[in-house]
């Protein structure tokens, strides 16, 4: 027989997911050979509502596919790796009831129905899987708990607010790492183990069956109060019997269960009864993370995360939270502060994990710097990563090995950040690039070079780098770097002139007739570039002004303008207007980004409401004013522009 390595690769993937795991090896092998691998760009449509059925159904290999319905294209479901979609219409011989659209760059496996169907008929397990999925879907069309992953169901219910409803019915994610003890374990040992494992409850088991549970509260009430000695056995202080559920329970069910018995932990067992093996614990905390409306809970979840993959999921909740905040009109300053804190916590955790992965501790102190919008705390949506690393000076002979260590560390961190959703920087402005992973003295040298020979590239580099913010590590290194920047820029004031003229180079937002200018060509033809035409002039101007005042550690643009207003009371009005305009534009961009699942940079002008257009144009007047101020202050002649 002819060898086919690619079909083996496909089979290896499929066998992990139902119903393919029920197929015999040779069936899976035959099936895999007939599969077509399809690449979809973000937003590409796989099929549209009312399209006649294709000859294949689909499995997501990489990426995500959104299933949408109706005029408003409400998202009904999101299919991740291993999920099946578009199968039912092929079996029922009817048109698609939903639109399937790539939510991000996606690779699909298209499985021809004529190959699959006989297996479904022959193989009882596969057949049952299909029937069960169809049936449960009819009962509860949006339930993710019955994710037989055979969407394309016909919901006969009235209009449903998609996300919210969908969310409540998701299966809960419980902690599978069961921390348990026996009935004779002492309270002291239990407390130690709970501290070590960072959990709030311990299951007491006998022959793998749950017989009781001990929580922080039980230890407090029974031991710390002195009621029982610290050597007391678990059986004396545990709460029994344990409330058990099956793992298929949904978030809503779990909430109700906890409320009903006013407990904070549920035990998940194999069949849902106390007479089967315990497989996990679900805490109120897990539940709140799943609901994801509480930053404090999210922060805790980030700190507890053991794997990069966990953080990736938490970041989805952060986006959810951001949407909710914007919807509730919570002030942007507060919103961006919370979201930045959360993003920062994620990055910090990734760095800690990377440090754990390194064979040795760092040889000297270092600092991880976030640059650009992340550094300015203005990164509400996920964008590219821009970062750098600075480490303490070391003697010449240690230089090579020290650099090698930090480059290796940075490589792991950059990869981790990529995995939690930060794209690699296309210009390689990342700490894993040897040019961005330097000792303090090397950085000083690089900065001197930029400040004393300010060409276009140097200005660009400075404008990205000078917005740095310490994310992790030694603050004294960062302070030394900042002090040096002020020192050198004061010595070479010509640098400000170049930085200011750089700030004036962005294209104008409006044309002669005050119409919004759209891009002339490229992928974003006829779109308005919000970042380059509106936000960048404001951030660039704030940077040069604040630098010329030698103000340290205010990185965020609205904050910088507020500080400037304080420093120059005569210009208070314009600076406050700039602060306001920046906030308005950031909010605008974030809303657009959430709406279209992108960076929000490019705006379709014809889709904007009249009100939004007016809002947008109002900020342009402010941009023009601040640019005039820069021109006058730094005496920028037309030659330089």
């Amino acid at each position: 027989m002819m060898k086919n390595t690619i079909s083996e690769r496909v089979a290896d993937f499929l066998e992990h997911f139902p119903p393919f795991n029920e197929l015999a090896q040779d069936q899976l092998a035959t099936l895999s050979k007939e599969i077509t691998i399809i690449y979809k760009e973000k937003d590409n449509v796989i099929f549209s509502e009312n399209d006649p059925p294709h000859t294949s159904f689909y499995v997501v290999h990489k990426g995500a596919v959104a299933l949408k319905r109706g005029e408003k294209m409400d998202i009904l479901d999101m299919c991740d790796e291993g999920d099946i979609f578009g199968l039912r219409p092929l079996i029922a011989l009817e048109n698609y009831k939903m639109t399937a659209q790539a939510h991000e760059e996606t690779i699909l496996y298209a499985i021809p129905i004529h190959i699959f169907k006989p297996y479904a008929r022959e193989n009882k397990e596969v057949g049952n899987f299909l029937i069960e999925s169809f049936a449960s879907n009819t009962r509860n069309p949006y339930s993710k708990s019955h994710r037989g992953k055979l969407y394309e169901e016909i919901p006969n219910l009235g209009p449903i607010t998609p996300e919210a409803q969908l969310f409540d019915l998701q299966p809960v994610k419980y902690s599978k790492k069961l921390i348990s003890c026996s009935a004779t374990t002492s309270a002291k040992e239990i407390a130690e183990k709970m501290t070590e494992k960072k959990v709030g409850a311990m299951l007491v088991v006998e022959n793998k069956l749950p017989i009781g549970i001990i929580t922080d509260k039980d230890l407090r009430n029974n031991i710390v109060t002195g009621k029982y000695p610290i050597t007391t056995e678990a059986s004396k202080i545990m709460v029994s019997p344990v409330i058990t559920y099956a793992k298929s329970m949904t978030i809503t069910q779990a909430q109700i269960a906890m409320m009903k018995s006013s407990i904070s932990h549920l035990c998940i067992t194999k069949d849902g009864t106390p007479n089967s093996k315990a497989i996990g614990i679900l805490s109120k905390h897990d539940l709140m993370v799943a609901i994801g409306n509480n930053p404090a809970v999210l922060i805790k979840a980030i700190q507890r995360a053991k794997k990069v993959k966990n953080i990736r999921n938490i970041r989805k909740s952060i986006t959810h939270l951001l949407g909710a905040y914007l919807g509730q009109n919570i002030p942007l300053t507060l919103t961006s502060k919370i979201i930045s804190e959360l993003n920062d916590a994620c990055i910090k955790r990734v760095i800690q994990m990377a440090l754990d992965k390194m064979p040795e501790k760092p040889p000297v102190a270092f600092a991880w710097l976030s640059l650009g919008s992340q550094g300015r705390n203005e990164q509400l949506l996920q964008t590219d990563q821009d970062n750098a690393l600075v480490f303490q000076n070391v003697p010449e002979e240690k230089m090579e090995e020290t650099t090698a260590y930090f480059l290796e560390l940075s490589k792991i961190i950059n990869k981790g950040l990529f995995e939690i959703g930060y794209e690699y920087c296309p210009a390689e402005m990342m700490a894993s690039n040897p040019n961005w992973c330097l000792s303090l003295d090397q950085w000083k040298k690089a900065i001197t070079q930029w400040v004393t020979n300010p060409g276009a590239d140097e200005i660009l580099l400075s404008s990205i780098f000078f917005d740095y913010n310490l994310t992790y590590g030694d603050i004294t290194l960062v302070n030394q770097l900042s002090d040096y920047i002020f020192e050198i820029t004061q010595k070479y004031p010509i640098f400000f002139l170049h930085l200011a003229s750089g700030a004036l180079q962005n294209p104008s937002p409006t044309g002669f007739f005050r119409q919004l200018l759209v891009e002339q060509d490229g992928e974003h033809k006829d779109f308005f570039d919000l970042k380059r035409r509106a936000l960048m002039p404001l951030t660039d101007a704030a940077r040069v002004l604040i630098l010329s005042h030698s103000v340290k550690s205010i990185n965020n643009t609205p904050g910088r303008y507020e500080k400037l207003a304080e420093l120059e009371p005569n210009n208070e009005e314009i600076f406050m207007a700039c602060s306001f305009a920046t906030k308005a534009l950031l909010k605008f961009r974030t809303k657009q980004g959430l709406l279209h699942n992108d960076s929000g940079r490019y705006i379709a002008i014809d889709k904007l409401t009249k009100e939004d257009k007016v809002k947008l144009k109002r900020t342009f007047k402010t941009i023009k004013e601040i640019q005039e101020l820069l021109t006058v202050r730094f005496k920028i002649s037309n030659i330089l522009r």
């Binding site: 060898k3 390595t5 690449y39 298209a110």
Partner: protein, 224 residues
């Protein structure tokens, strides 16, 4: 058209070559989505065009962003010449093991029939093409006629052009797999590498398109 035939050596070329040559009478469509690409990788005994030999050929058909698995080609060649050093890398033992091995001429026949007039995509294309051309020459056959694209060259075009950061001269397939988060499974098998190359090409193409519309001729200009 007549000129086209005059250019070819008049020798008595076998029928399978003539069939291959005739494929090129058909012009390639301009729309990239309609173009048939063949993503190619060869595993060889080494890097010397004269002395080293092809161990295996892996090729995938790519049309309209679809790769049909049953339309792929995976060939293992019988070896006279053998280099124990490189075999360690790709794990192909002399004359294979458990897989059917065919002669060089039979492999060329099957490859030509498979590739037809498709545009060939490979990583460091020049190497694979030269290896195949050398094999063709050993059998008194002319060189390949296909247009080619190189993912190594194309990838560089997706990177920003700026003095701020220096592009490497060469990006390895490992570099691309890492950048684009493509699983390195089956790395160093011809077909496995061809698959990584195919996915990398698709991702590169998406990124290039974002800079402006792309016709086949533009792609060829960027990545030949």
């Amino acid at each position: 058209m007549i000129k086209f035939f005059k250019k070819r050596p008049p020798a008595n070329l076998p029928d399978f070559w003539k069939t291959y040559e005739n494929c090129f009478l058909e012009k390639q469509p301009e729309e990239v989505n309609s173009v048939r690409f063949v993503v190619l990788d060869t595993e060889t005994t080494g890097f010397d065009y004269i002395h080293d030999r092809i161990l295996s050929i892996g090729a995938l058909n790519l049309i309209n962003k679809h790769i049909a698995i049953n339309q792929s080609l995976e060939l293992y060649l019988i070896q006279d010449h053998y280099n124990a050093e490189t075999a360690k890398i790709h794990g192909i033992l002399k004359n294979g093991r458990g897989t059917e091995c065919i002669t060089e001429i039979e492999a060329l026949k099957q490859f030509l029939a498979f590739v037809g007039n498709a545009v060939i995509i490979a990583h460091h294309t020049i190497f694979d093409i030269n290896m195949i051309n050398q094999a063709l020459e050993r059998h008194q056959l002319p060189k390949l006629l296909n247009k080619t694209l190189d993912t190594s060259t194309l990838y560089k075009k997706t990177l920003l052009t700026s003095n701020v950061f220096k592009k490497k001269d060469h990006y390895s397939l490992d570099d691309l797999a890492e950048k684009f988060d493509i699983s390195m499974k089956d790395r160093h098998t011809a077909i496995g590498d061809a698959y990584i190359t195919a996915i990398a090409f698709l991702k590169i193409w998406t990124r290039l398109k974002s800079k402006g519309p792309l016709k086949l001729k533009d792609l060829l200009k960027l990545g030949s």
